[in-house]
């Protein structure tokens, strides 16, 4: 009796562990090559927010506030520059695909649809909040 149970358990375990079917493979979440830069950017925005708040409640002197704010903005600019650099690199690596998509745009430039950037006229396959080319908001200012 006990031997039977033992065998059953062992077999169940082995089948469970080894019986991986193709459909069981997880579809990995898409990883943006900018993930770590976005993290950094988020952290700097967070720092800016904290700084602004501390200044408003009077924990900081004016000088400290201005200096630190400028530092943070510069760091932010550096991160954004890095983003642009990576982007260029990616485009170069992927051949001409994205620019080609962008080149197609002018033919329909007049059409102000939601897929075309109102600032630089770059066109994308899907709806975006911010332009992937110039970084400006895709939709006209709502407010």
């Amino acid at each position: 009796m006990i031997i039977a149970i033992t065998c059953v358990i062992a077999i169940v375990v082995i089948v469970f562990v080894l019986g991986v079917r193709p459909k069981d493979l997880p579809e990995p979440e898409p990883v943006s090559p900018f993930a770590h830069l976005d993290e950094r950017k988020a952290a700097i925005y967070e720092n800016l927010r904290d700084l602004q708040f501390e200044y408003r409640v009077g924990k900081l002197s004016d000088d400290d506030y201005q200096l630190t704010k400028k530092d943070l903005q510069k760091e932010l600019a550096a991160v954004m520059a890095e983003v642009d650099r990576v982007k260029l690199q990616l485009q170069a690596g992927r051949g001409q695909a994205p620019p080609a998509a962008a080149v197609k745009v002018p033919t329909k430039a007049a059409v102000k649809d939601s897929l075309t950037c109102p600032h630089c006229n770059a066109r994308f396959e899907q709806e975006l909040k911010f332009c992937g080319e110039c970084g400006k908001p895709m939709k006209a200012v709502r407010a």
Binding site: R49, Q73, A77, A78
Partner: protein, 159 residues
């Protein structure tokens, strides 16, 4: 009747044993003074603890030892004399050294070392002119200016 008597006797016996066990716990809670001296004597019951910390109930060594320490203290012997007396009776193996200077120095030395490491760290990473080598010096610097608009926009709705 005799059965009942025997049961009564045996329960009495259990009671007496229990009471005796309770009674001797009084001496298990030695005074601070006894504990101080006891901490310097190795318990010989095989427990590797000191006389003060031996947790064995009814320990054949630490219990009488604690009583003896208390008696010696009652007649006015100081810590050193009591320890000497025990060493004389049981040999040097019973002696537990008090914490020596080494025990003190090391933690502080490590704290000092940590302090030195911190200072080194500060020296290595401290930049008196933080922006000097970032390549961007002023707000109208082209690099920053390029992103200024984006930054302003994003920071505008910070809270």
């Amino acid at each position: 009747m005799p059965g009942k008597m025997r049961r009564f006797k045996s329960s009495l016996l259990i009671l007496v044993v229990a009471v005796a066990a309770l009674a001797q716990t009084a001496s298990e809670k030695p005074s601070v003074d006894v504990r101080r001296v006891g901490a310097r004597l190795q318990c010989q019951c095989g427990c590797k603890d000191s006389v003060a910390t031996c947790s064995m109930l009814e320990c054949h060594f630490s219990k009488p030892a604690k009583e003896r320490i208390a008696q010696m203290q009652a007649v006015g012997m100081n810590d050193e004399q009591i320890v000497q007396a025990f060493v004389r009776d049981y040999g040097i193996a019973i002696y537990l050294a008090p914490p020596n200077a080494f025990g003190w120095i090391v933690p502080y030395a490590v704290a000092g070392l940590g302090m030195a490491l911190c200072l080194l760290f500060v020296r290595k990473y401290y930049k008196p002119k933080p922006m000097a080598d970032l390549g961007v010096i002023d707000v109208d610097d082209p690099e920053l200016a390029k992103y200024q608009e984006q930054i302003e926009k994003d920071t505008a709705n910070l809270d």
